[in-house]
């Protein structure tokens, strides 16, 4: 029983960054903007959260700085794709590489290191089987991460803003005739996706009390796969995130065993992502205006 509880607790902790990123990504994708940028938002968020926490001594301020970092990258992506009509995939790749480059540059500049930051104040991480309970107390980002997915579902399906996001993502021309500003809705959706994914990144660095180079490690892409697997529905995407997190937890448990080479264990989340993408074909219908101007 305690083993199961430990497994669940660890799954939740691993799921949090995915949940934030997927919640943000769903919003942007439903508005018609491809979310290949989640990886960069997360990395940027992780770095700026660490920086904020380092200078202020407060992980709370760190988390806010993380959001600001994600917002900045999000606006960059929004301006490129909405104002300048840049190809969304190319811009996404650029944002990701930019996040890698900028975090490396400032890591070197501020801390004279090419691998990691010093230890910074973070939210305390509990690893025991009681993490489920104590984590809720100590790390506010965990309960927030669990709530964010239903919150985004509510935003998307129960509010005027959500209706506009969906309208703009399915049929922008029709939305225009209703007096909706396609640009403004998309700017808001992309900015929100930047802020949310960055919070997921902030969780990573504040949980580990430091930033390490490339610490998002593909999580943004896995979150995007979870969105596709969840057919662009927040709740289903959230469930997919939990599934990926459970697989990763299993991977960590397997790593202790010598029977399987560690390299194969490391592949598990990435292989699962591909399998998930292959599995949804024909059933996954993206928002009609996704990727179009």
């Amino acid at each position: 029983m305690s083993m199961l509880l430990a497994f669940l607790a660890q799954t939740l902790r691993i799921a949090v960054p995915y949940l934030f990123a997927a919640a943000g990504g769903v919003l942007a994708e439903r508005s018609g903007i491809i979310s290949l940028t989640l990886e960069g938002f997360m990395l940027g968020g992780a770095f700026s959260a660490m920086l904020g926490s380092y200078y202020s001594g407060s992980p709370w301020i760190g988390a806010i700085c993380g959001i600001a970092g994600g917002l900045a990258l999000g606006m960059l992506h929004a301006v490129a794709t909405i104002r300048y009509k840049a190809d969304q995939v190319v811009s996404g790749i650029a944002i990701n590489l930019l996040a890698v480059g900028l975090t490396r540059y400032f890591l070197k500049l501020v801390f004279d290191s090419s691998s990691n930051s010093p230890r910074v104040p973070g939210f305390s991480a509990a690893t025991s089987s009681t993490a489920l309970v104590s984590g809720l107390v100590h790390n506010p980002l965990i309960p927030l991460g669990l709530l964010i997915v239903p919150a985004v579902a509510w935003l998307l399906y129960r509010t005027p803003f959500g209706l506009r996001v969906r309208a703009v993502g399915e049929h922008p021309e029709a939305a225009v005739t209703l007096g909706i500003s396609v640009r403004r809705v998309r700017y808001a959706a992309v900015a929100l996706s930047g802020a949310l994914a960055a919070l997921g990144g902030a969780y990573l660095s504040l949980d580990q009390h430091q930033f390490t180079d490339g610490m998002s490690a593909g999580r943004g892409f896995i979150a995007l796969a979870a969105i596709i697997f969840g057919r662009w529905d927040p709740m289903r995407a959230g469930l997919a995130c939990l599934f990926f997190a459970a697989a990763e937890t299993l991977q960590i448990q397997l790593q202790g065993m010598q029977a399987i080479p560690s390299q194969f264990v490391q592949m598990i989340p990435y292989v699962l992502t591909i399998i998930a993408l292959v599995g949804v074909v024909g059933r996954a219908i993206p928002p009609a205006a996704l990727g179009r101007e």
Binding site: A86, V90, A99, G218, Q263, I274, L290, G291
Partner: protein, 370 residues
């Protein structure tokens, strides 16, 4: 992501608009890279000023360390060689409307392929036999890695951007495992020395290059760029590939098997990235080492975009990014070399934003002239 292939095509090549003159097309090809260059210089200025250095001094140092002396230039040529390969890989994908973000893993696989072939051959094998064999092995290994996302896309519709990125992680782990099964020299991350198929350094012909890693593989790679150009623009297969990139639905109606073309494009793309492995393995260190390819695959994206997915443009763009990358080392004392990593993102973003903008501006001037 349903329209990603169509949008990819618009990046790799202009949409066929009527009334486009030769000059228009030239401007449309050349202006965006110039805009991107300007934007990246401004971004570079800001990053340099952030450290409190003078941009002029830093750029001068960058030029002196690259084109200013034979050793630096040799290093630029060495880096250009790898980047031409990964740039061509991304370019061929873009021409088919596909984003190959997996050049990183394909390049590494190519390196191990070349090393394994070299190790399997007796050390005394003539270079005339060994070099082609090792080169083919590198291309096969890279091509095999590229084949997988092609099939995943063609048969199951799994988007290649995600699958190629995931495959990077998978392939690098797989290569690391293969290396750990007894291939590597204990206490290191590299294989035994490869004797068969070694390519001479350029310094063997001209001593000015002494110490630099530039080697004979540059000739092979430039020849590959020429072949890629011929393939893309002078053969039926290349025509089909480009047609699919511009209009997959119309191509399907015209009797082209779109799925097979995607698989072929990504396999060729992977093979070209894999070819880059010979630069390090046959030309430079003469062994495969884990991590030798880090960053070159992603830089290939910038190279292909700035080179407008044209093989000759790719060679020029590779030269530019190799200069930037080597220049980063030259300025490291003043400004962290990681600046180059950031500029790479800036260049791609500026390219992506300026391509449609330039096209719109040209179209509006056309209208106002008439």
């Amino acid at each position: 992501m349903s329209d990603a292939s169509a949008t990819a095509a618009s990046v790799s090549d202009g949409a066929p608009a009527p009334m486009r003159t030769r000059l228009d097309r030239l401007l449309e090809a050349v202006l965006p890279p110039l805009v991107a260059l300007l934007v990246s210089i401004v971004a570079g200025d800001l990053l340099i000023l952030a450290v409190g250095q003078s941009p002029g001094a830093v750029y001068r140092l960058m030029l002196e360390g690259t084109w200013g002396n034979a050793y630096g230039f040799g290093q630029v040529l060495y880096k250009t060689t790898t980047l031409v390969c990964t740039g061509l890989a991304v370019a061929v994908g873009l021409r088919a409307g596909l984003f190959n973000i997996g050049a990183e893993g394909q390049l590494a696989a190519g390196g191990l392929g070349a090393a394994l072939a070299g190790l399997a051959l007796p050390a005394s094998t003539s270079g005339l036999v060994a070099v082609p064999l090792c080169t083919i092995a590198a291309m096969c290994a890279g091509g095999a890695v590229g084949f997988v996302p092609g099939v995943l896309r063609a048969k199951w519709g799994a988007h290649e951007v995600i699958t190629t990125i995931m495959l990077n992680f998978i392939v690098l782990a797989l290569l690391s495992w293969m290396l750990s099964t007894g291939l590597r020299v204990p206490e290191t991350l590299h294989t035994q020395a490869v004797h068969a198929g070694a390519l001479p350094r350029l310094s063997a012909w001209w001593s000015g290059f002494h110490g630099s890693a530039a080697n004979g593989s540059i000739a092979i790679v430039l020849f590959a760029a020429l072949l890629a150009d011929v393939y893309l623009f002078r053969t039926r297969g290349g025509f089909e590939l480009r047609a699919v990139g511009l209009q997959p639905d119309a191509s399907e109606n015209a009797g082209i098997d779109v799925g097979r073309t995607w698989i072929r494009a990504l396999t060729i793309s992977g093979a070209l990235a894999g070819l880059g492995g010979i630069n390090f393995v046959l030309g430079y260190e003469h062994y495969y080492e884990e991590g030798f390819a880090t960053g070159a695959g992603f830089l290939g994206i910038a190279v292909a975009l700035v080179g407008r997915s044209n093989p000759f443009g790719v060679v020029l763009a590779a030269l530019f990014f190799a200069t930037l990358s080597q220049g980063g080392l030259a300025i490291n004392a003043l400004v962290p070399k990681q600046m180059v990593d950031a500029l790479q993102g800036v260049v791609i973003l500026a390219m992506a934003a300026s391509v449609p903008e330039v096209r719109r501006l040209l179209a509006s001037t056309r209208r106002s002239v008439r």
